[in-house]
């Protein structure tokens, strides 16, 4: 058999590392408006191109163009802008709180606000969201008070999770937000199960899940796609391809040779790659997928092509592994600035209103923050009673946990 003298192991590497000047021309991004929009009951095979293209609606001039334009009223657009801005203001405040030692940990979603906010506006409030740690925008867009999130972040006396969870690993059943796991990817097939249950009960609610491009390498991703395809589950599977998984580029997750949206092609259901920084595009594609799911046409995988502007978490220092100005050079811009530009172009927004909104949101976040900090912060308390740590392991506490609870109580008395 004919072959080269020897094999070589290919190791994917990030194109740009500190010191390089990032140039994203190689991405060859399609223009806004060019992607076709099949009907929501189209056969999966008619949607294949969408997995390799990029659905974009807002063009460089801020206009909404092409068949995917969701034609939203200005009210909805302003709502989207508000929620995205609130998400960002909240993130910035919490990041600062971590730097001040009020919480040991925080994770921002800067640059990815549209991925969660736009879809939240499409979903019904009782549709269940199985998010990763980077979709705080879902809760914010469902009007869940940032004050409550802060209490979790500070582990204070009103932390609904009783100091048990890492900050940002929320659980808000009331707002259709499934308990976040620290283990990547596990929520993805769980969302499929929830959607299957809804279908089993002949309900009308659908599920939506989010995963990072990095975590999509986990087996759970495959399980989710398999079960969703096999049982035609009413679920939207979102994948946020923000280019980075901590220090690893999306190539390490398998994004060198194809798109992540195309994973769905291999399962026979639609995969759509969307400009994740384009609020209108995310909204439109989400609505398409939701409609499809609700009409029993099954799952859709949406790859949100975006960029993680912030460090991975407060424990991370991206300057060690990527050029400092990479985000500035990211060709798809900032979702907030782009939606703002679109609204301004429509004549429905201006700088003065923007400044006022910003001030309003900052005040809102500040007020909530002060209130939350008064109820306790990390390291200083007050917290829930530590004896609560033995609760909820089981519905009823077995004898050995009761014994351990009693033992802890003894020690807390003895403590100097």
């Amino acid at each position: 058999m004919k072959h080269d003298s020897s094999l070589r192991l290919h190791i994917p590497e990030s194109r740009f590392r500190p010191g390089d000047v990032p140039d994203f021309n190689y991405l060859n991004l399609p223009k806004a408006g060019v992607a076709k929009r099949p009907k929501t009951d189209a056969k999966a095979s008619e949607t294949r191109d969408l997995a390799y293209g990029l659905v974009r609606v807002i063009d460089d001039a801020g206009a909404a163009v092409g068949p995917w334009d969701p034609k939203l009223d200005p009210e909805t657009l302003r709502k989207g802008l508000r929620y995205m801005l609130l998400t960002r203001v909240f993130d910035d405040r919490m990041f600062k709180a971590q730097r001040q030692g009020k919480t040991p940990f925080y994770m921002k979603c800067t640059g990815e606000e549209a991925v969660s906010v736009a879809q939240a506006l499409v979903l019904n409030r009782d549709d269940m969201c199985f998010a990763s740690y980077r979709q705080q925008g879902l809760l914010i867009a469902r009007d869940w008070p940032v004050f409550d999130l802060m209490c979790q972040i500070y582990s204070n006396t009103l932390d609904r999770l009783k100091g048990r969870q890492l900050p940002v690993l929320y659980s808000v059943r009331e707002a259709g937000f499934f308990s976040l796991s620290g283990n990547l990817g596990t929520q993805y097939p769980q969302a499929v199960g929830w959607a299957m249950a809804s279908a089993y009960k002949r309900d009308t609610k659908i599920a939506a899940a989010w995963i990072g491009e990095g975590a999509s390498a986990e087996g759970d991703f495959h399980q989710a796609l398999t079960f969703a395809a096999v049982y035609r589950a009413p679920v939207i599977l979102n994948l946020s391809n923000n280019q980075w998984a901590i220090s690893s580029s999306q190539g390490v997750a398998g994004g060198e040779e194809t798109t992540f949206a195309s994973r769905a092609v291999g399962f026979g259901f639609p995969g759509i790659r969307v400009d994740g920084n384009d609020f209108l595009a995310v909204y439109a594609v989400s609505r398409w997928a939701a409609e499809r799911a609700r009409n029993n046409h099954g799952p859709t995988l949406i790859e949100h092509f975006t960029y993680r502007a912030a460090p991975h978490s407060t424990s991370d220092d991206p300057s060690r592994y990527r050029p400092g100005d990479e985000y500035q050079r990211w060709p798809l811009g900032d979702p907030i600035i782009r939606l703002k530009g679109h609204l301004m172009r429509l004549g429905e927004w201006d700088e003065a209103r923007h400044t006022a909104l910003m001030a309003e949101l900052e005040a809102e976040v500040d007020t909530a923050n002060k209130k939350a900090q008064k109820l306790g912060v990390h390291g200083g308390g007050p917290y829930h009673d530590p004896s609560t740590m033995f609760e909820d392991v089981y519905k009823e506490m077995p004898w050995h946990l009761r014994e351990q609870q009693a033992e802890l109580a003894l020690f807390r008395e003895k403590k100097p």
Binding site: M128, F130, R160, L161, K162, R164, Q165, L169, S171, V172, R173, F178, S179, S181, G182, N183, T186, Y188, P189, Q190, A191, V192, G193, W194, A195, M196, A197, S198, Y200, K201, A207, G219, D220, H222, Q223, A224, T226, F227, V230, E391, D392, V393, Y394, K395, P398, W399, H400
Partner: protein, 332 residues
């Protein structure tokens, strides 16, 4: 025992529209051990159906269904194949109630045939129960006879926490005391072989006394209950045999009560020895009954090797080994 388990699921499918069953080959076919036989035919494809060969996905999907409000029962074809689902069981099912402070829970039941005795070799004979007892948030149940199997499985399905329900596959067709050379028995003549129709529940966390005695306490579960009974009979020692039934929660009162009475304790299981569940039992008994003990607590278990297929009976901790340990403890 197959019919008893089938009846438990039948009862629960009929009582509760939120109960559904899935797993490999459990639908049309009724399961490779026939435990779900006829259920799809009776309750329809929506309630009893085949799943892709993906144990992890099955558990994940069950967790999602549980979060919605259903009570899924998943059959894992062999306990040896539960490991791909380990993360979903340990990091998710077991933690969901805790991490959400009670907002969500995973009321799921995972059934899996376990143990040796059918020449299945290392990938059809394992007893992985000990691993799960180390994971807080999970319950682990193992019946030793048809009557208990039905009542315990009903309780497991009704339980609001995730339950691992391991079924001693060698007991599916009849009792087995380790005397593989004897003719195969069925459950027909066994006292606990009679299973009432309809609903009844046996609470989780309660051991049963398989034999009352004064001389020595034997802690056993699953197939080993029968082995312990046989070995006891053969030695003539008046042992008290506890059929633990529920490994987690542990019925500590039954255990310490008996050991305090007898002053001697033997632990038997088929699983490999090191860091097996028997280690925990030994530690507990030692901690709580130290001053009552008249001889070392011993363990008779599977060897610390994979189950070697042709050497099934050299591996299986049969009545000879159990009897020897009984004698040793009595001499101690």
């Amino acid at each position: 025992m197959v019919e008893a388990l089938n009846s438990a699921m039948d009862v629960m499918l009929a009582r509760d529209p939120d109960v559904l069953i899935f797993g490999e080959d459990v639908g049309f076919f009724g399961g490779v051990f026939r435990v779900t036989d006829g259920l799809q035919q009776r309750y329809g494809e929506q309630r009893v159906f085949d799943a892709p060969i993906a144990e992890s996905g099955q558990i994940a999907v069950a967790i999602g269904m549980g979060a919605y409000g259903l009570r899924p029962v998943v059959e894992c074809q062999f306990a040896d194949y539960i490991y791909p689902a380990f993360d979903q069981l340990v990091s998710e099912a077991a933690r969901l109630r805790y991490r959400s402070a009670g907002e969500f829970n995973a009321p799921i039941t995972v059934r899996a045939p376990y143990g040796g005795g059918i020449f299945g070799g290392q990938t059809h004979s394992q007893s992985p129960e000990g691993l799960f007892t180390h994971v807080c948030g999970l319950k682990t149940v193992i019946p030793s006879n048809p009557y208990d199997a039905k009542g315990l499985l009903i309780s497991a399905i009704e339980d609001d926490d995730p339950v691992l329900f391991f079924e001693p596959k060698r007991l599916y067709a009849g009792p087995f005391d380790g005397h593989y050379e004897k003719p195969v028995e069925t459950w027909a003549k066994h006292a606990a072989g009679e299973v009432p129709v309809g609903y009844y529940a046996i609470p989780l966390g309660k051991a049963a006394v398989a034999r009352q005695g004064e001389a020595l306490t034997i802690l056993a579960y699953g197939t080993m209950v029968h082995v312990a009974l046989a070995a006891t009979a053969e030695t003539g020692v008046d042992a008290e045999i506890l059929d633990l039934r529920s490994l987690m929660p542990i019925d500590i009162e039954a255990i310490t009560g008996s050991v305090e009475k007898t002053g001697r304790c033997l632990i038997v299981h088929e699983a490999t020895r090191t860091s097996g569940y028997g280690a925990e039992l030994s530690a507990l008994v030692q901690e709580r009954c130290f001053y009552h003990l008249e001889a070392p607590i011993l363990r008779v278990t599977g060897w610390d090797t994979p189950y070697p297929r042709e050497f099934e009976w050299e591996y299986f901790p049969g009545p000879l080994r159990v009897a020897e340990a009984i004698r040793k403890i009595m001499a101690g």
